[in-house]
């Protein structure tokens, strides 16, 4: 009997507790919805510094990450109005994935690094803030920006994305392998020439290849970025500016046949980690971003050279890398503050510092022509190749960078060719079909927001 009475009281207590918990949960719910997108109180107060959260893609401990930390440190010390807080988010693609998730959860940073292949879908989903007013307010001299770097981030007469860490693919070669094969000390000038050189670079012990002439990246390592250059050099393209897919045109197919011939003729192979293979001497040459020059310089135990991507009927080389975008979901004062960092990080002085420490290209004409850079290039000639190649580069075809998943659709097809020696015509027809069906929603979205 006693125990039963005790039970009842404890039940009552529990009920009371539950009611309290429910009230608490309700209170939480209310406060959560009312606080969305509101700046913390200290930011709204005049006179105190605005804190800006910045998401980026270089981890500390890497040369690029250390350089970025230094840029941020200098920015925070240079003025009192803005405090930039940096958060590392992973690779370019991981950063974009997390930003997508953050937007669904309505917990975004004010500023994010976004790669050239990722910013556009944030634009078509109308999550980016236009920058023109900020550019005017900060009197940023846009004419000093390398033209193609600036215009790539423009849509509908507005700036939405500002180039920061821009790169191009370069051709890197192991000088020792080149010497052993009796080749001149330079990158191949054409794809035809490269196909003649390739077999000479192969080293075999028995049936095992111990050194390849060239290594192809997998789809997930942007094979379609490098192939963008190959397809242009052959006079083809992935698509035109209006998203009309052109990958089955004869010139594009010719580029695909070149790619296939490298593996059929046995001098090139696919590799999951070709930078490591290059460093280990497993492959004689790779195409790789300018942004990797820093790492190769530190880690290579042999002498290597670099050069432009080969040409064929004409030169062909895409730009790549990343820029910064301001999130429209951030409160106005944070947007304004975020732009101050963009202006600082792209200033001639900082872009020079950034370029010298990472291998990414300076985004300002005055920086490229500056005595500091000229002097630097004299002592580090490999760093100059990218800037010299700049004249022949252009932004990539929309099919690769503006169609969501376009990079992987093209890349998967190319990987089937490099790994399984798949037939080019059939493979490219498949790519064409997939790109066309994925392009339609983008075209619809664009016509909805740009008219």
């Amino acid at each position: 009997m006693m125990s039963d009475a005790k039970h009842t009281t404890s039940r009552r207590a529990l009920l009371k507790g539950a009611a309290g918990a429910a009230a608490g949960a309700a209170a939480l719910g209310v406060s959560k919805s009312s606080r969305a997108f509101d700046a913390p109180a200290f930011i709204r107060q005049t006179g105190s510094a605005v804190e800006v959260l910045f998401w980026s893609s270089w981890g500390t401990g890497t040369p690029n990450g250390e350089a970025e930390q230094e840029v941020i440190r200098r920015f925070n010390e240079s003025q009192q109005d803005v405090v930039l807080r940096h958060e590392f988010q992973g690779t370019y693609d991981e950063t974009a994935q997390k930003l997508s998730a953050a937007l669904q959860a309505r917990q975004t940073p004010a500023l994010s690094l976004l790669s050239e292949a990722n910013w556009f879908r944030f634009y078509t989903s109308e999550f980016l803030a236009p920058m023109d007013d900020f550019i005017a307010a900060n009197e940023l001299d846009t004419t000093d920006f390398v033209d193609s770097f600036l215009t790539e981030g423009q849509r509908n007469d507005q700036q939405w994305w500002m180039s920061f860490a821009r790169s191009t693919p370069l051709f890197y070669y192991n000088k020792q392998a080149w010497q052993e094969a009796g080749l001149p000390d330079r990158a191949p000038e054409t794809y035809t020439e490269f196909a003649e050189w390739g077999p000479k670079l192969v080293k075999k012990s028995g049936n095992e290849v111990s050194r390849w002439g060239f290594s192809h990246p997998p789809s997930a390592d942007f094979i379609s970025w490098y192939f963008q250059g190959t397809v242009w050099a052959h006079g083809g393209e992935f698509s035109d500016d209006q998203f009309a897919v052109k990958i089955t045109e004869p010139n594009s197919i010719a580029a695909g046949e070149w790619l296939r011939s490298t593996v059929v003729d046995g001098w090139a192979a696919p590799s999951q980690d070709r930078v490591l293979d290059f460093l280990n001497g497993v492959t004689s040459s790779i195409m790789q971003s300018t942004g990797t020059l820093g790492r190769l310089t530190t880690e290579a135990t042999f002498e290597f050279g670099n050069g432009f991507l080969p040409a064929e009927t004409n030169p062909g080389c895409p730009t790549g890398g990343a820029g910064m975008a301001i999130l429209a979901t951030a409160p106005p004062e944070q947007q304004e503050a975020a732009f101050k960092y963009i202006a600082f990080a792209t200033s001639p002085e900082i872009t020079t510092f950034w370029s010298q420490n990472t291998g990414y290209m300076p985004v300002r004409k005055s920086a490229i022509a500056s005595p500091e850079m000229t002097e630097y290039y004299k002592t580090n000639p490999l760093f100059q190749t990218a800037v010299q190649q700049l004249e022949t580069t252009k932004p990539q075809d929309p099919a690769r960078i503006y169609i969501p998943g376009g990079d992987r659709i093209i890349g998967d097809g190319l990987e089937r060719i490099t790994v399984n020696q798949a037939e080019v015509q059939a493979t490219f027809e498949e790519i064409q079909g997939q790109l066309e069906s994925e392009a339609q929603p983008v075209i619809d979205a664009l016509s909805a927001i740009e008219g």
Binding site: S100, R121, N207, P218, Q272, P404, V419, P441
Partner: protein
């Protein structure tokens, strides 16, 4: 709120004598309230974080959405039709079964062998048990990175070992036909210890007199193993089969780190495919449809196993 007066202790405890309908009802109400009180918090959490996302996933599987845009388009069953016709998805299903079958089969068989060995009174047995179990505790991502080095066809540990026997190492991670065996090896290495430890516990639970009785009947070691050990271990095996199938079905980390589903989708399994479609290719709808396929498959596996277990498994 009426419950406060309804459930006064005196009426509740003296109920059996009188047993009026009013009292019965109040008792039922009280039970219900108690039930809700205990189950409620769990139900809310489950509902919010498990059932609601599942329902949302079904809805998403009939839509086209890039994970970002405020606009979602209803496409009916198009996503499922796509999966049905997609060569990659077919490959993914084959890979998933190949991988699950091989990884579960090998880790169970080898786990049993290891358990049998470790059940003998050998020297250094405890240390060996710890070593065998250790990989189970490691993070899949870290294991993937280390094994990628081990598999390197030129400088890797495995290539060196094969070299002692004059066997050339396959280019494990760059060849479609070798990448999946490589992944399976790593998974088996990681999960073997778990199966071994569970089997070991099972072995030690088998009464000795069963073996003695078998010996008296003239059964040799093999027959004792077949007629005593295997049947007595069947509930353990059943448990291991269920948990291993469900966990390998959902494997992701090692594949992500070692091969990223490649080369040419050779190691692309269902969960990887779902992730890849959603987060790498921005096809949330297609990913949701694939996730639903995964859900149904796992449901079928579970049901089949439940059925089977009722008939065949010997519970001691």
């Amino acid at each position: 709120m009426t419950s406060g007066t309804d459930i006064a202790p005196s009426t509740a405890t003296s109920a059996p004598v009188v047993g009026s309908r009013w009292q019965m009802r109040s008792l039922a109400a009280r039970e219900w309230l108690l039930f809700l009180l205990f189950i409620g918090p769990n139900l809310v959490i489950f509902g919010l974080f498990t059932y609601w996302p599942m329902i949302e996933n079904v809805r998403l599987s009939t839509q086209r959405w890039n994970m970002l845009s405020p606009r979602r388009t209803d496409v009916g069953l198009d996503n499922f039709r796509y999966l049905l016709e997609d060569g990659v998805f077919r490959q993914v299903l084959i890979n998933t079964f190949y991988f699950t079958g091989a990884a579960v089969g090998l880790s169970l068989v080898l786990g049993l062998v290891v358990a049998l060995l470790l059940n003998q009174p050998l020297r250094g047995r405890d240390a060996t048990r710890a070593i065998v179990f250790a990989p189970t505790l490691l993070s899949g991502a870290a294991i993937g990175i280390v094994w990628a080095y081990i598999f390197d066809p030129r400088f890797g540990l495995l290539a060196q070992i094969l070299g002692w026997f004059n066997i050339g190492s396959p280019d494990w991670l760059n060849r479609p036909e070798w990448a999946m065996p490589a992944i399976i090896i790593v998974y088996v290495w990681k999960n073997l210890g778990f199966a071994a430890v569970i089997y070991l516990a099972g072995l030690q639970g088998i009464p000795r007199d069963l073996y003695d009785a078998a010996k008296v009947d003239g059964a040799n070691a093999w027959w004792r193993f077949r007629s005593v050990t295997v049947p007595m271990l069947s509930p353990i095996s059943f448990f291991l089969v269920v948990t291993s199938i469900l966990s390998t079905f959902q494997s992701f980390d090692i594949i992500r780190v070692m091969t990223r589903g490649g080369p040419v989708d050779a190691t692309n399994t269902l969960v990887y495919y779902v992730w890849d479609e959603a987060f790498q290719r921005s096809n949330a709808g297609r990913a949701a449809a694939a996730a639903l396929v995964l859900f149904v498959l796992m449901m079928v596996v579970t049901l089949v196993q439940l059925r089977y277990s009722e008939r065949k498994v010997h519970y001691a």
